[in-house]
């Protein structure tokens, strides 16, 4: 327990002293996971909406695949993205392995099925009859889809939360494709693993606090939006 207390005190001191390295790590994590969330939304929202609204052969299979993807192990994604980005791999020419771009790619792969799955569920909750009534008011297909998404906007905020929450605290893939290079690809989670391994508990605790506060703030903001609209 003593270790925890002294570590926490030193951690707070570190944070108060605005340790440049720590803030740099925080900023990188935010940038990487934020970008990955945006990419996963850009891919997952249309995919989820299309899956919810369309009826085609093999739809059940695709939906099952998406649901499986929601629980994709990050290490598996890390391995896959490493192989793809490896010098001799299909995207090796991009030379982005061990850069933040590689982490963004891996995290987007992890978050996209989560966003797709939650969008699918959210849009699926909007009654079919609602779509029919919009068409009966003269909505084009695009206008209809847009309004259905608008109806589903509150549960879809959950997609944002789950997507971001899933990847900001993810470690396996970030470590594998980023390499935990100091000042370049070191994120909150990979830094914590390193510092804990080295016995620098005060730094690890400081990072842990930052991570928790970050996740809390994001969820608080989104919950506030949800509740304001749900009234």
């Amino acid at each position: 327990m003593d270790l925890l207390w002294s570590g926490s005190r030193q951690a707070l001191a570190l944070l108060a002293g605005a340790d440049r390295e720590i803030w740099g790590i925080l900023w990188l994590s935010l940038e990487v996971s934020g970008s990955a969330t945006l990419i996963s939304l850009a891919l997952g929202v249309p995919a989820g909406a299309a899956l919810a609204l369309a009826r085609f052969r093999g739809r059940g299979l695709v939906v099952s695949a998406v649901n499986t993807g929601m629980g994709l192990p990050p290490v598996v994604v890390g391995l896959f993205v490493t192989l793809v980005l490896w010098r001799s791999g299909p995207f090796g020419d991009l030379e982005i392995l061990y850069t933040p771009a590689a982490i963004v790619a891996a995290q987007a792969v992890i978050a996209a099925p989560i966003v797709t799955g939650i969008t699918l569920a959210a849009v699926g909750q909007v009654p079919r009859e609602f779509r029919l009534q919009l068409l009966a008011l003269g909505a084009s297909r695009t206008q209809m889809v847009w309004l259905v998404l608008r109806e589903a906007r509150l549960p879809m905020l959950a997609a944002v939360m789950a997507g971001f929450g899933g990847i900001i605290s993810e470690i396996g893939a970030s470590m594998m494709v980023g390499g935990n290079i100091k000042g370049q690809t070191r994120t909150l989670t990979t830094a914590m693993v390193l510092e804990t391994g080295k016995g620098n508990f005060e730094v690890a605790i400081a990072l842990a606090l930052l991570l928790l506060v970050l996740i809390f703030l994001v969820n608080w903001l989104l919950t506030a939006i949800q509740q304001r609209h749900a009234r």
């Binding site: 009654p127 009859e129 609602f130 029919l132 009534q133 919009l134 068409l135 009966a136 008011l137 003269g138 909505a139 084009s140 206008q143 309004l147 608008r150 109806e151």
Partner: protein, 363 residues
């Protein structure tokens, strides 16, 4: 047909999994009229309306809009000249005014959008609710919003699918005359689908009776209700008493038909010796005590009998009198008490010769 119908179904069939749920050789709604389509639940009414509203493509046949065939899959332009209201309105999660503006927005109609929305909120009596979130409305209020968002489009044809069925009796009693007044005043071309014959009678210029996917009768409202084309139609439009008799005499404008040993005088012409099916609507039958017979001189049929059943229901009470055959009458709760009607009581049932309908005979 002198003028082209606004929307018409031509040789339309709809089958689901091999079962034919709708088979309509021809049905059209003309400019400015209210066509009521009535039928029991499951008779294909809603399917018919969805096909007419270009929301569902028929298995066979075509839908014409102002004379031109339209494929439901490529019908945006035509759909934008129609509007449809459903039994359970699903409003978008926004304010009442925004909901009413929805169809105008779809059409990109910006001119006077606010003024038009305001006018229709006013006409449907929901102006005070304009800033309310649609989700917080009662069923009656929501249906008014749904009607406003359809009528604000000033559609070429308004399609109504059981618009009153989801409402409680008081809301329904308020909305029915309000909507009727608007449709009449603006001469809105309307196709109303309902299982309620009272709504059809109140609103319809013409009535189509749909039975098991087929149109059993299509005629002016009064004619459907007063000379039903068949026994199923007769029952559905509220003819409770249906009996068979033989024509025994013709005397001027009056035909005498013998039913179960009783002689009935009817206004409709028929050949002597012919067997006929007769129908009497319960509201056309008056129940009298023996001492009261004289005042109702225009009633030609006075049948003494015994009350066998009294069934209370709203708004009228149903009384079955055995006059040699069971004759159904409706009375108000007040006359029930005043006349002291009860099972076993002897009474006289009176009805006019013109109240007797000859079933299946168009004249």
């Amino acid at each position: 047909m002198t003028q082209a119908a606004v929307v018409e179904l031509d040789d339309v069939q709809v089958t689901y999994g091999g079962a034919t749920v709708l088979d309509v050789p021809a049905l059209g709604v003309d400019e400015g009229e209210i066509l009521a389509v009535i039928g029991p639940n499951g008779s294909g009414k809603s399917t018919l309306l969805r096909v007419a509203g270009l929301l569902e493509r028929p298995t066979r046949g075509v839908v014409r809009f102002r004379g031109r065939p339209v494929d439901a899959a490529h019908s945006l332009a035509e759909r934008r000249r129609m509007a449809m209201v459903f039994q359970h309105p699903l409003l978008a999660d926004m304010t009442v005014a925004q909901n009413v503006a929805l169809g105008l927005k779809f059409r990109g109609a910006r001119d006077e959008r606010g003024a038009r929305v305001g006018r229709w909120l006013e006409r449907l009596g929901i102006a005070p609710l304009r800033h309310r979130r649609a989700r917080t409305l009662s069923a009656g209020q929501a249906q008014r919003v749904a009607l406003a968002r359809a009528l604000v489009l000033e559609p070429d044809v308004l399609l109504l699918d059981e618009p009153f069925a989801g409402l409680d009796a008081p809301s329904r009693a308020e909305l029915l005359p309000d909507l009727g007044a608007i449709l009449r005043h603006d001469r809105v071309t309307t196709m109303l689908v309902t299982h309620d014959r009272g709504e059809a009678q109140t609103l319809g210029d013409r009535v189509a009776v749909l039975m098991a996917g087929h149109i059993a009768q299509l005629d002016a409202t009064a004619r459907v209700f007063h000379s039903p084309a068949s026994e199923v139609v007769a029952r559905f439009v509220g003819v409770e008493t249906l009996v068979t008799g033989r024509v025994t005499a013709r005397d001027g404008g009056v035909t005498v038909v013998e039913v179960a040993g009783r002689k009935l005088e009817i206004a409709a012409p028929a050949r002597i010796g012919e067997d006929v099916r007769l129908g009497v609507r319960p509201e056309d039958v008056t129940l009298l005590l023996a001492s009261e017979v004289t005042p109702l001189s225009s009633a030609r049929n006075y049948l003494p009998g015994t009350i066998v059943r009294v069934t209370p229901s709203t708004p009228a009470i149903q009384v079955v009198v055995d006059v040699g055959f069971p004759l159904v009458a409706t009375v108000t709760a007040r006359s029930l008490v005043e006349l002291g009607l009860a099972e076993g009581i002897r009474i006289i049932a009176a009805f006019k010769a013109s109240a007797v309908q000859l079933i299946g005979r168009q004249f």
